[in-house]
């Protein structure tokens, strides 16, 4: 999803940043007035930043992220916490980053100036990556609940974390699902020659080969290719049992449509770039039965107490990433409690060593700040809608109903 979703995520993050920035200004004034961190009935105010696009095309996702953080903070305040001997009142500083990469660092700087204790965000990988450099300089821990681009945690920043999986965990996941579910002997791997598509396809090919599956010579189009007939015809002659395409839905839709027209019986599999209901629009009935993967777990598979609390508070279901931002905010609060300090430098080691049972399952971080054994969800197209069919965790395939039941218990 780096290609098309990332810019959108970027925008959402930027939006949130902008909103946060506005909120920050207001709060700074307040703080100046009271001339001390003491406020809200004598309690010490601790600010937690949140940034996502709160306006524009994916504002609904930004709001979803924000709701997750708000829920975590309100719950913590209701409990009435004492950290370092002082009564603590948490405050969310939410900014609109518009999903705009250039707004990411601006909002990050705003957070740094407002001395937030930690940041949940941003939504888009493309915004989170430039912003993370600012957080790193300022020493503010940041946890994204939705940025899946591997680059985010490959920069060597000690303050950068995420509660979702990485794009490069998807390849092995969808490949191992294909192997366990369809037991293919011959698989064709096609990509769109972009860094996202090719990278994903490489991971899939590696996993398939390790599982002893014959992988045909790689076929490539471009991210603008709409005519796959020549390639598909060639593949048809080699009779693959499955075809994996690394790329976006604009290429994947025509691919599966033309494949069925040519009478290919193979299973079509995709990454998150082509994992939406739009595939049905683009490919019509040919999309039926395709499988695809997305990082994370669907919101409806989050823990039952979280879903109930979310519904009670906001009157609606979480959309996608709310469980992950909820967990991110809780991780920060839990780390603060553990070391009895709201100082980022002090609670950062505790955050790194987190072992936390959250709404999205058990969370531990590896040395890069990525979530250990992050879940990848496999979806299948059924009657024109993509529905979750399985969760892949640590290389194991868990049928979705079973996983959802486990979470509810």
């Amino acid at each position: 999803m780096q290609l098309s979703r990332a810019p959108a995520r970027l925008r959402s993050v930027a939006l949130i940043f902008a909103v946060l920035a506005l909120a920050a200004c207001g709060k700074q004034e307040e703080a100046a007035k009271s001339a001390a961190p003491a406020a809200a009935g004598g309690a010490t105010v601790v600010k937690i930043g949140h940034a996502a696009p709160l306006t524009g095309g994916i504002a609904h996702l930004g709001k979803d992220n924000e709701a997750g953080v708000r829920l975590a903070i309100d719950e913590a305040n209701a409990k009435g916490m004492t950290i370092g001997g002082a009564k603590i009142h948490f405050e969310m500083m939410s900014e609109d980053d518009e999903g705009n990469p250039t707004k990411g660092p601006i909002i990050a700087q705003k957070f740094a100036d407002a001395k937030v204790a930690g940041v949940v965000g941003h939504l888009n990988s493309g915004v989170t990556i430039p912003a993370s450099a600012v957080y790193n300089t300022a020493g503010i821990p940041m946890i994204s609940g939705s940025a899946t681009n591997p680059k985010l945690t490959e920069q060597g920043f000690a303050v950068t974390f995420r509660t979702v999986g990485r794009d490069d965990q998807q390849g092995p996941a969808i490949a191992s699902y294909l192997v366990s579910q369809f037991k293919p002997k011959v698989v064709a791997v096609v990509d769109d020659a972009t860094s996202y598509g090719e990278g994903l396809a490489n991971e899939v090919e590696k996993t398939l080969k390790a599982a002893g599956v014959t992988v045909l010579a790689r076929e490539k189009g471009t991210d603008k290719t709409a005519d796959w007939k020549a390639i598909l015809t060639k593949l048809k002659g080699k009779k693959p049992d499955a075809i994996f395409y690394g790329g976006m839905d604009s290429g994947g839709g025509p691919l599966v449509k033309q494949g069925r027209e040519l009478g290919l019986k193979a299973v079509f599999a995709f990454g998150d770039g082509a994992c939406s209901d739009k595939m049905k629009e683009l490919a019509g009935d040919a999309s039926e039965g395709m499988v695809c993967s997305q990082a994370g777990i669907p919101a409806q598979a989050a823990s039952k107490p979280f879903i109930d609390a979310f519904k009670a508070k906001f009157g609606s279901d979480p959309i996608i990433y709310a469980p992950f931002t909820y967990d991110a905010a809780n991780l920060i609060i839990a780390a603060m409690q553990k070391v009895d300090s709201v100082d980022p430098a002090k609670y950062l080691p505790a955050l790194k060593a987190s072992s936390f049972d959250g709404a999205s399952g058990h969370i531990e971080f590896d040395e890069k700040g990525d979530r250990k054994d992050a879940e990848i969800t496999i979806f299948a197209m059924k009657e024109g809608k993509i529905v979750p069919v399985a969760i892949i965790k640590a290389g194991k395939t868990i049928p979705f109903e079973e996983f959802a039941k486990g979470a509810g218990a």
Binding site: A193, T214, V215, L216, A217, R218, E219, K220, G221, T222, K224, T225, A226, D227, K229, A230, I231, T233, K234, K236, G237, D249, S250, G253, P254, K257, Q258, E261, L262, G263, K278, E281, L282, A283, G284
Partner: protein, 330 residues
């Protein structure tokens, strides 16, 4: 064998579309010696207009049969593109008719950019799905499958080519067009209204382009504001291959180019598989034994064939396959 036959079917479909678009290039070139680089964008606009009309008619539950809705889409796309073609000639090219050859060429590129971005503003930068409302039966012929849409594309293209040939060789307008093509000044002196003839040429080319746009949209199920650029360049290559300015040449060039692309993309991987010569080095033999293939050039070179053909033609036979009178004009 069925794979080969299937690639021929794929190539013929693609080639028919190229041929129709190439006609637009070649007609304009034949008359005013201008390469109208904005023609690809006219095709894109045709696809977009049809998409909008078909989408809203299909969504409005009018109860019209799907085939009528598609025809309505074409019926709207053709006049819109004709207006675009007419306007572009009138506004951008006519004032430059006496200017050095380079001026209209650059203008054409400018128009192409303007049209592309207008389309982006109107239809967004996202790939749009072309409504698939007509059932698309698949027929099996000798192991190759051909869909209803493919048959319609090949059939409709053949009809349009016949129609255009009849227009150029059997009507008064056709005579005027051929006269203008030979010598605009003399044709003007003979009482041919050359402005009208040139306008008609643009309008007819744009109309053909509109139909090609609908074909592309229906065939692939997708439309995007940049879809005209590569299609236009390939059709231009097809026109040059056949001999630009020559109607039969554009048709032949289009079909040939479609076949070259399909067969090229289908077989280049096999021909450049180093495993045929795995005796060169032991390392290579090892990789072949492990993977079964070490492909030097894969199907990602599909888009290159059209331009390889273009270069080869320009080097070895600049007048194209059927072209004769080039020399001073190319």
């Amino acid at each position: 064998m069925d794979v080969f036959l299937q690639q021929i079917v794929n190539g013929l479909t693609l080639g028919s579309i190229y041929a129709i678009v190439a006609l637009g290039y070649t007609m304009v070139y034949g008359i005013v010696q201008l390469i109208n680089f904005a023609h690809g964008e006219v095709v894109m606009i045709g696809a977009m207009v049809a998409l909008t009309v078909i989408g809203s008619l299909a969504g409005a539950n009018t109860g019209m049969p799907p085939i009528v809705i598609v025809l309505a889409g074409i019926a709207c796309a053709v006049p819109v593109c004709m207006v675009v073609g007419f306007t572009m000639e009138r506004v951008a090219y006519r004032p430059l008719r006496g200017a050095p050859r380079l001026a209209p060429l650059i203008t054409a590129i400018g128009i192409s950019i303007i049209l592309q971005h207008l389309a982006m503003l109107i239809w967004s930068r996202n790939p749009l799905s072309f409504p698939q409302i007509i059932p698309n039966p698949v027929f099996e012929i000798a192991g190759a499958s051909i869909t209803g849409v493919q048959i319609a594309i090949i059939g409709l293209s053949a009809l349009m080519m016949l129609g255009l040939t009849a227009l150029v060789y059997r009507t008064r307008l056709g005579v005027a067009m051929r006269a203008t093509s030979e010598n605009p000044q003399v044709a003007g002196l003979m009482g041919v209204n050359i402005n009208r003839v040139i306008s008609s040429t643009f309008v007819i080319g744009a109309g053909l382009g509109a139909v090609a746009g609908v074909m592309v949209g229906t065939y692939y199920g997708i439309a995007h504001y940049t879809m005209g650029a590569l299609l236009g360049l390939k059709a231009f290559s097809a026109a040059v291959l056949g001999g630009i300015g020559n109607l039969a040449g554009a048709m032949l060039g289009g079909i040939l180019l479609g076949l070259v692309e399909a067969l090229g993309a289908g077989y280049i991987g096999e021909f450049t598989d180093l495993c045929h010569v795995s005796w060169i080095s032991s390392g290579l033999a090892e990789r072949c034994a492990r993977d079964g293939h070490v492909v030097l050039m894969g199907s990602n070179y599909q888009d290159v064939f059209a331009f390889l053909v273009l270069i080869a033609v320009l080097v070895f036979r600049p007048s194209g396959l059927l072209g004769e009178r080039v020399g001073d004009r190319a």
